[in-house]
């Protein structure tokens, strides 16, 4: 039950992400090796030895969703575009089609099974026999196909369509409005059947993983919503007030923007849930600590945003255990080394750009004291990142990469070698041609801790003799920050700090590809393109080859330092000791069913 949709991390520099998921109740792995560099080690599961009781399970499990504004209330993962909505509707099972293993690889046993055929370039999705919606209707082949119609419809409000879907035959014609249906999606035993075959022009190894951009992995209740025009779906009561689900719980009530309540879905095909009632409430992040300390909630929604300062407040609570895993996100530093050619739709490196020198970029990274900064302001919940793949991807993340630990001597040496020297008694280094060098640092306005971090970066850069200043002399509001970065050619920002939230399939082409508009630093090289292509080449159907390429890419990106890793973070929750079976490992596909309670009151 990987939540497919990820909150954009652009809004909060600390990415807000959603990953709900998890594993069988009492199988405990100690924390995955995922967080070797973290100073605090959190476990992905809470190994509660107490016994659950029927009386306890008949009470209400209380979940808090820490957020400063009301949730938007779109239950449909095809249409929602934020983490809060997927958090508060999570007990419904997020309408996920497939189960996944700990690497988010799609496995059998979920609502449907997936078979990919390299020979025919098809994906065959077969629903299980007992798949039902929470109103008792069967889940049909049409329900698997309908999300594609919603996503690609000309009048949709969904942001999910990507050019990768054009690989589905007939998709381009449907997307442009020329065809009424998608010819490449067929139903061998009819729309009411259980089988869907999707025909592609070519298929990609990334399709083995949940969160890829070729295969949509949730269902839509076609019969239930077919009379609502697609443009009005997000506003309809079928999506907002009385949505139906395929997961372990059915929705009892939603109070707009505030709370949802749930009870077991008797039509659920999987493991029957034990707890009889669940309520999820939005709680202001200003007083989430107080709410937990006064035992109002059993845990905060897995994936809800909890900060390092919250950890500092809560870590010593007796009745709560802090459970977490590395987040599907990372903070990074980007360097502006080129522009985006709007005519060809390609990113182009400029040899003469201010940041074109590799030594300069590396030196700037070595000058930063990210270990100390994350320790001081993250309270153990963030730590220096060593690569551009977060450790949640246990297989792909290269733990042996060093990244950029503080090394002022090396930084200075790199600058000297490249000819960035102090000339004519100046306090600052000038560029190799002897010209004055002022570097502009773009940073988004955020918390006071972030402001302090930015000041520290500037200080460190000044230490190695680089005249770095904040763009415009101050931090930038989020919208103007991204507007500036996304303009095809800009010289206001030379280096910037930002973050990405990732889907559970980490191919980075959308972010750093030649044609990617999100490649905001415009770093392009033959080697980079080659490596990213190889991640999904024919050979990459072999998992170990794919892993090797991912590791090679991480090393290459670090060596080039055009986009450099900043920090990783935990996504974590305080869990009350009356809760049993809490486990956020991605392979715990029955997260909600595996929960039980050991006491009638929050302890």
């Amino acid at each position: 039950m990987v939540k497919k949709k990820l909150a954009l991390s652009a809004m909060a520099v600390l990415a807000t992400l959603s990953l709900a998921a998890c594993s069988s109740s009492s199988s405990k792995k100690s924390s995955s090796g995922a967080n070797d560099n973290a100073s605090v080690k959190l476990s992905e599961s809470y190994n509660n030895k107490a016994k659950s009781t029927t009386a306890a399970n008949n009470t209400t499990l209380k979940v808090a969703e820490p957020n400063d504004s009301p949730f938007q209330g779109i239950s449909d993962p095809v249409l929602a575009s934020n983490a809060e909505d997927s958090d508060v509707f999570a007990p419904g099972g997020s309408d996920s089609l497939f189960n996944v293993d700990k690497n988010y690889k799609i496995i059998d046993g979920g609502l449907a099974n997936l078979r990919l055929s390299r020979k025919n370039n098809t994906a065959t999705i077969t629903l299980r026999k007992d798949a039902k919606w929470s109103n008792g209707d069967p889940v049909t082949a049409k329900d698997v196909e309908y999300p594609y119609e919603v996503i690609a419809n000309k009048k949709t409000t969904s942001q999910q369509y990507s050019s990768d879907y054009a690989r589905i035959k007939g998709m381009a014609a449907y997307h442009s409005g020329k065809a009424k249906t998608i010819s490449g999606i067929t139903f061998p035993d009819g729309q009411k059947g259980r089988k869907v075959v999707i025909h592609y022009s070519s298929i990609s190894p990334s399709m083995k993983f949940s969160g890829n951009s070729f295969l949509w992995t949730t269902v839509e209740p076609y019969e239930y919503i077919k009379n609502v025009p697609i443009a009005k779906l997000a506003a309809s009561k079928q999506v907002r007030k009385s949505p139906i689900f395929t997961g372990p719980y059915k929705l009892d009530k939603v109070v707009e923007g505030e709370s949802t309540t749930w009870s077991p879905n008797k039509y659920y095909y999987g493991k029957p849930p034990k707890i009889k009632h669940i309520s999820i409430n939005v709680v202001s992040s200003n007083n989430i600590d107080k709410a937990i300390q006064s035992k109002k909630y059993d845990f905060t929604a897995p994936g809800g945003v909890m900060h390092g300062t919250d950890y500092k407040q809560l870590k010593n609570l007796k009745n709560y255990k802090m459970v977490g895993s590395a987040a599907l996100s990372y903070d990074y530093f980007g360097f502006n080394v080129g522009h985006y050619d709007t005519k060809t739709g390609k990113n182009v490196m400029d040899k003469n750009s201010k940041m074109a020198n590799k030594n300069l970029r590396q030196a700037m990274m070595y000058a930063l004291n990210l270990d100390q900064v994350t320790k001081k302001f993250g309270y153990g919940m963030t730590w220096r990142a060593n690569t551009l793949i977060p450790p949640i991807f246990t297989k792909y993340w290269d733990s042996s990469e060093k990244g950029f630990p503080l090394n002022l001597k090396k930084a200075k040496q790199l600058l000297n070698e490249a000819g960035y020297k102090k000339r004519n008694g100046s306090k600052w280094r000038s560029d190799p041609n002897g010209k004055k060098l002022t570097i502009y640092f773009g940073a988004m306005t955020g918390t006071s801790a972030q402001a302090a971090e930015y000041q520290d970066y500037l200080q460190q850069w000044h230490k190695i003799g680089l005249n770095v200043q904040l763009t415009g002399g101050k931090t930038m509001e989020m919208n103007s920050f991204y507007s500036t970065l996304q303009s095809p050619k800009q010289s206001k920002i030379d280096v910037y700090a930002a973050a990405w939230g990732l889907s559970s399939e980490p191919t980075p082409t959308q972010l750093y590809g030649v044609e990617a508009p999100y490649n905001m630093g415009h770093f392009v090289s033959k080697e980079n393109t080659k490596l990213m292509n190889e991640m999904n080449s024919e050979k990459a159907w072999n998992d170990s080859y794919r892993t090797k390429i991912f590791k090679k890419w991480q090393a290459y990106m670090n060596e080039q330092a055009a986009v450099a890793p900043g920090s990783f973070a935990y996504t974590w929750s305080p869990v009350n000791k009356r809760v049993k079976g809490y486990n956020i490992d991605p392979s715990n596909n029955e997260f909600w069913s595996n929960l039980s309670l050991t006491s009638t009151k929050i302890q």
């Binding site: 990820l6 954009l8 652009a10 809004m11 957020n67 400063d68 504004s69 009301p70 938007q72 209330g73 779109i74 000309k154 009048k155 409000t157 942001q159 369509y161 990507s162 050019s163 990768d164 951009s213 997000a234 506003a235 907002r240 009530k253 109070v255 707009e256 923007g257 505030e258 709370s259 949802t260 309540t261 309520s279 409430n281 939005v282 709680v283 202001s284 200003n286 007083n287 107080k290 709410a291 300390q293 006064s294 109002k296 509001e477 989020m478 919208n479 103007s480 991204y482 507007s483 500036t484 996304q486 990405w500 939230g501 990732l502 889907s503 980075p508 959308q510 972010l511 508009p517 999100y518």
Partner: protein, 319 residues
Amino acid sequence: MWKTILRRVLIMIPEVIILSILVFLLAKAMPGDPFTGSINPKADPAQIHHLMKINGLYDPWYQQYWNWVVHLFHGNLGNSYQYQEPVTRLISSRAANTLWLALLTMVLTYALALPMGVFAGRHEGKLPDTVIRVYTYVTYCIPFFVILVIGIWIFGYVLGWFPTTGSISADATSGFKSIWSRAYHILLPAILGALFSTVNIVQYLRSEVIDAKRSDYVRTARSKGVPNKDVYRHHIFRNSLLPIAAFAGYSITGLLNGSIFTETVFSYPGMGLLFVNSISYRDYTVITALVLIYGILNLLGTLLSDIILSIVDPRIRIE
């Protein structure tokens, strides 16, 4: 007077038109667009571009404005980009929440402040006056945000007397139970709001009462032998209400403004947060709709204040 009111309303029309053009232009002048916040690896820029296009966001401003006006006259304020639902529905649900909270806060504020003001004025310079004055200054000095956080902590979490989030509890289904649940949820924020916003009313009232005490008509009333109680009730109180009546119109139309602080701390979905969020998300349709509503309400507020004033004080006549 009706003529005057009609004239005032007619003048409001060009004012509203100018306001709406200004709002429209300023909203578009902000950097970013409703989809800037959506950049993430899963949102294809081409799709974002497509969404911008079908929403007419690339059209020249006068065309967008014209479309907006045409829709407005059909009672359609557009769809919120952020919430993906009609703006009218979104605002009306938030407005109801805000209205109840603000109404209760206002009633409590007046219920507290009026007696305090009169009492302080009556006992000018004595102990009760000092106590009330100190109270109003202290409450005026403390940032409201701090009060809310402390209030929710003590009465919500430590003592557990009041609910801490939302506008209604999830198990309140219908009828009396849901009304009670709503009332219960707004009680704490309303009490805190009332306790800490008395300063204006108390100070105005107090100084008016002090002035009135020394005026000729009070002396006349006293010398006629009118009992002290009646002097205060009929002569002083009514005349002292003038400055308060002057901003009563604004208070009434201001009920819909909402409080960002209260809404954030109590996770209470209201107008204040909606406005602020719509600005940071560049949710143009919501921003323009809200500013327009606030603008009209303010104009109405001025008018209402004048009308109230003329009722309270017969010396003032709108001509």
